[in-house]
Symmetry: C2
Subunit: 414 residues, 2 copies
């Protein structure tokens, strides 16, 4: 089945001529095409042709995107969407002056959500996630990563991964699943850290790998969570089991997480708010993506990751919401894009590449999605805007017009 | 016609026992009512009764708000919604390091918008405003202030005020009109400041007052705009003509604006990002509202107004978007509420009072709207939330369920 997406004002391709990511100064290029239409066959981009050849397709189905801006479908490559409960009370405590780390040390924080998840059935978790995923779709998100990490025991981590699998089947967008058993230590293992790591290594990872319950294994390398040696053990096992790797690291402290992640060729290192200057050069030729999360910095009123320095050191930079109830309760990828401009001084073009092709790279999906190129999935985020910078300049406003996944219009405004 | 609004989880009244504003520590009180329903007659709140008396109203029309949170209709008391054109290019310049003041000095900034407005017909201005006002309504805004200030000559200022009058007639919400001829000097009077002030004083203000084209006269007291003596002249005339007063002041510099505003008993002083500590005590018993605009601070990456200090000094504090294309392109009052929590450390309760009863006070409408009290207009913002802090804690997400104006449901989600 052939379909044409016609009449748009601009097509922002994010084309990389086959390399499928952008590093350093390449992030400034968007590869914008005017006066062309997109030919889609069976959900895949077959061609991008000049409007002059439109007359060859007289009887073909046309989706008229007059005056609109077509971007590759947006990708949120770091989220904790699979949570239950609310942490509004903790939010109020933080406004009154308590720090995120203090709350975690006092037994609040992630553990509050763990208790809510453990008390939720798999059906309940799916129901909780549904409106959130609808909201992502209304923003033009066509690929979404979701982590476990609020179960923290075998049964509850597996439950979360199954719930994520179910929403992936229910919704037309691609949901990428990440196992985050190493999010923090569960209360019952506070005094027996190695006991919990044994469960992750001996029981959870083999089961998850065998049953293909996750694409990635992730961890949180931080003083209040796992140290570098503990992450090393987990990554050794996960890597051997065939899982790709990600790591939450350099958020509050530098305790060796970055080097462990790089030792295992992690697909991405995420956070990096306190990344040291002398670590910047490590990103120079690295294929590991630096995933930056400005929503956390806004939400915790904390420093922002050094986006411009990373780009200056030739890193592959991506952006994500880190949507979660404690440190970034921001289910809004457009707002994250605006924050990257306003607070990290990323250029509009850099930001768009960071939530498309580089976010695809952070999910190991860069050969399938993330740019408008022949052979890739026909995933588009279509906006009502005169030009692409309007999407970022209109802070807190959703200019999305259509979300298109595998060539199907899965959301249309009004 | 009697109607009942029933079954809500909470009614946040923002009741002030008739005083109609909250200052200092009073901002912490919301006056929440549970297990009650609201009786509305002919668009006005007639009673708030316990659920046990619901059986007296068997045949009365009921709007079922089960599990929802009812707030007074939200009020955005400082906006420049009546603008044409885009300043996305200037936004890009700012990301690259140019300051807002540098852009203004180089002839960009407000003047860019003035040119676009002068080139727009009144019909075009109305068309441009329509989707913006719809978006406000979808956020639960039932009273909206809009300023002129992008015309900067007699004909174009009048044109803007007429366009604002027309949208007020088209839409069911209340739109309050403010004359801001003293926004900046038009290019043709750059070298003849007193010439422009003469036009404001001799021509614009008398015409506007006579034809009731605006409720307020506003100005911008700043190094790049009007000095305190110039504002004094304008306020003298406006005040005598019967217009209420507002002033943009203490945004970048302290040049005497605050004292001029207080001399004329201005209804509000807006911005206050650089308010001096020794000016704080002036707010102690003042009925002038301090309108804070955290969106500007985010958008310009600039310091935030001292909200906690003002509240500590017993001020009447309100919050608004300052929606405008140059310094706060943020058409999202909920996001402003979240920013007030995250960046100004305002408590959730203080924020809700600041966009309801105190915002009404900033528009001189506090006897009509701003709280859920017998005799006031039945204006409600109804949210899908377990409790009111969720509205602010869910950053960048719109939890609004119904907007009710004069007892009519004017917007309903899905």
């Amino acid at each position: 089945m052939i379909k044409l997406f016609t009449n748009s004002e601009q097509i922002i391709t994010c084309n990389t001529q086959g390399r499928n990511y952008k590093r350093g100064s390449e992030l400034k290029n968007l590869d914008v095409i005017n006066n062309h239409f997109i030919v889609v066959e069976n959900g895949t981009i077959k061609d991008i042709l000049p409007n002059s050849s439109l007359n060859k397709f007289v009887t073909t189905e046309k989706i008229n995107l007059k005056d609109k801006i077509i971007l590759p479908g947006l990708i949120d490559c770091h989220t904790h969407t699979a949570f239950a409960g609310s942490r509004a009370n903790e939010f109020k405590d933080r406004i009154s002056g308590k720090s995120y780390e203090d709350i975690a040390k006092a037994g609040g924080g992630i553990i509050t959500t763990v208790n809510a998840v453990r008390n939720s059935s798999i059906e309940k978790l799916v129901e909780i996630m549904k409106p959130r995923i609808r909201e992502y779709i209304m923003q033009g998100v066509t690929t979404l990563e979701i982590k476990s990490g609020y179960g923290l025991d075998f049964e509850n981590e597996i439950k979360l991964l199954h719930a994520i699998k179910i929403v992936n089947e229910i919704f037309p967008i691609d949901i990428v699943s990440t196992f985050l058993g190493a999010h923090t230590f569960p209360p019952e293992f506070k005094l027996n850290r190695s006991g919990y790591i044994d469960i992750i290594v001996d029981k959870m990872i083999p089961h998850i790998a065998k049953n293909k319950l996750a694409d990635f294994c992730d961890g949180f390398c931080e003083l209040t969570a796992f140290n570098a040696d503990e992450i090393d053990k987990i990554f050794f096992t996960a890597s051997n089991a065939g899982l790709k790797l990600k790591l939450h690291t350099e958020q509050f402290n530098n305790i060796g997480g970055l080097d462990v992640a790089l030792k295992y060729n992690a697909t991405s290192v995420d956070h990096l708010e306190v990344l040291q200057n002398n670590d910047l050069s490590k990103f120079k030729e690295l294929e590991t993506v630096a995933v930056l999360l400005p929503g956390v910095s806004l939400f915790l009123d904390y420093q922002f990751a050094p986006a411009q320095k990373l780009i200056g050191h030739n890193a592959i930079v991506a952006l994500a919401t880190d949507y979660n109830p404690g440190s970034s309760n921001i289910l809004n990828l457009h707002l994250i894009m605006s924050l990257a401009a306003l607070k990290m001084k990323m250029k509009v073009e850099e930001i768009i590449n960071a939530v498309t092709i580089n976010a695809a790279k952070a999910l190991n999906r860069e050969r399938l999605v993330g740019s408008i190129e022949i052979g890739k999935k026909a995933d588009f985020a279509v906006f009502d805007a005169n030009e692409y910078s309007e999407i970022i300049y209109n802070v807190g406003r959703n200019l999305l017009s259509h979300t298109i996944k595998n060539g199907e219009v899965i959301f249309r405004k009004d």
